[in-house]
Symmetry: C2
Subunit: 305 residues, 2 copies
């Protein structure tokens, strides 16, 4: 799957993933009103508004970026209707040939991680039939349980040609409380990075592994160091835009081949129409604002690489 992602990145010349994290405050009033008048002020109404919003965004972005990253929490908070729209969104993106990174941050003991791996990357046997629950291409995974919490995911990746991104160093302010603790002079996240190499060794496709990692854009010097420590891991980089990082902060996350990182922006893309910079698009052209934000982000990142 990492090979497919690389082909798409090259084709678009854009190492960019759009975070589909639609909380209701990012959705134009007209879409909300329409959905609520059809389905009431209900979870179903809210979920349908999310769907209409996503659909327009996906259509506007499908030829300029390689991948999207729906954040499942935003759908889970709308209950079953929200999760139905999560699945509909994943299916629609795949139809539009966008790679889908399920931002699910799952992780548990082995037997439970097996269920999560099947849920998001694999399939489930029911009697004599087989069923694909959510069907993302990649999933983000939490490393706290160590190897036996990760192995069920890498097993499914090997079988189904899928990939994972392991949370090595997160972008949030308190991410360092445990991740940065020093063990014999080296931060805990470097120990996770070593395991990422180990977990990914058997899942190489060309120069890169189907086991990638997450390293926040908010710590550029850490990004550079982790780039060197994990030469074959693709880095999924959150923290660009709304969380504060710019193209110049991300230079060190790429390898010399110009690859090795894919940068996420969520609010900065799907909420662009609400920002001063793209205000001229107005709420009716929120999808075009998102497209322009992607093109500008591409320029910012590529000119700094």
């Amino acid at each position: 799957m990492i090979g497919k992602l690389i082909i798409k990145i090259r084709k678009c010349d854009a190492p960019i993933v759009a975070g589909l994290d639609p909380n209701l405050s990012l959705i134009p009033e007209k879409i909300l009103d329409n959905a609520f008048s059809g389905f009431g002020e209900t979870p179903k109404g809210a979920a349908e508004a999310v769907w209409e919003f996503n659909r327009a965004i996906i259509e506007a972005l499908a030829d300029v970026i390689p991948a999207v990253k729906p954040q499942i929490a935003m759908y889970e908070q709308l209950g079953l209707d929200g999760l139905e729209v999560f699945r509909r969104t994943v299916n629609y993106c795949r139809k539009k040939e966008l790679i889908v990174i399920g931002d699910v941050k799952r992780g548990d003991i082995g037997s439970t991680s097996e269920a999560y791996a099947r849920a998001h990357l694999g399939s489930v046997e029911i009697g004599s039939s087989s069923f694909v629950p959510f069907g993302e291409d990649f999933a983000t995974v939490n490393p706290w349980f160590g190897t036996d919490g990760i192995k069920p995911f890498t097993d499914v990746c090997a079988k189904e040609d899928k990939g994972i991104f392991v949370l090595v160093k997160t972008s949030n302010p308190s991410g360092g409380e445990f991740q940065d603790l020093l063990v014999d002079g080296r931060p805990v996240y470097e120990y996770v990075a070593e395991k990422v190499n180990e977990w990914g060794a058997a899942l190489m496709e060309g120069d890169y592994s189907n086991v990638g990692c997450v390293v926040g854009a908010t710590y550029p010097e850490v990004g550079e160091r982790l780039r060197a420590l994990m030469p074959h891991a693709f880095i999924l980089v959150p923290g660009y835009g709304a969380q504060g990082a710019k193209g110049s902060d991300i230079k060190g996350y790429f390898n010399k081949d110009g690859l090795g990182a894919i940068v996420n922006s969520s609010r900065g893309i799907i909420g662009a129409w609400k920002s001063d910079r793209y205000a001229s698009f107005g709420p009716k052209r929120f999808d075009e604002a998102a497209r322009q934000a992607c093109l500008d982000m591409k320029e910012d990142i590529n000119s700094n690489k």
Copy 2:
């Protein structure tokens, strides 16, 4: 909510939680056949089998134990139908006055943890109405993101009288890869334990906090040490039974008041009918086997306290 849990534990005289983790291999053939003949070999058929199984188990256990812990991964792997049964199970347990610990192990950056906290412990505003997505009483939470990933959960706990259990030291074999790394001579999990105290300080009910922790039964000496380090945190203890721990291993997880821990068994209870010890119940009386397994577990734990 921790106060309610303690009242229930005292009433049942059983510091026990039954893990409702029904993978299909634990469900008697007759229930599967019935569900498949009604709904086909489909996710809906599998989910309805899980529901029939859960319903019987819940009815058999409701007066002997205080709480249940559905593992959401087992439902998530059955897609939307599975998650609908997860919600139905939560509602049914609450109707039967069982405390529900949602074993969801969620955790993310602040704004995303907010959505997870609403999804599992809180409610969501949609227009002028309010909606409860899944409505558990407690949730298990992953600490990897540090304080700002936890705060949205504790905020909801304060507002809605709910609780969380933070993963301090997990029961699986490779849990120690990162959790046991030594920082100035002390394992990382002790740093997490200190934060559990900090996060829980404002959420006390009597002697215990609504911020509890997870410490696996598979490391008794660690349990004893963590008991002392977090005097006000209730410990949710996985690892009993199928994972290998016995009542005598858990003694040190309790405080002098006889409280402070609640021990989980999943397969050991709901899959009891498949074990040699309870084979005489047969597949028809799987629910009675589960009840007997709870009574025996209570005896084993209480006689060792």
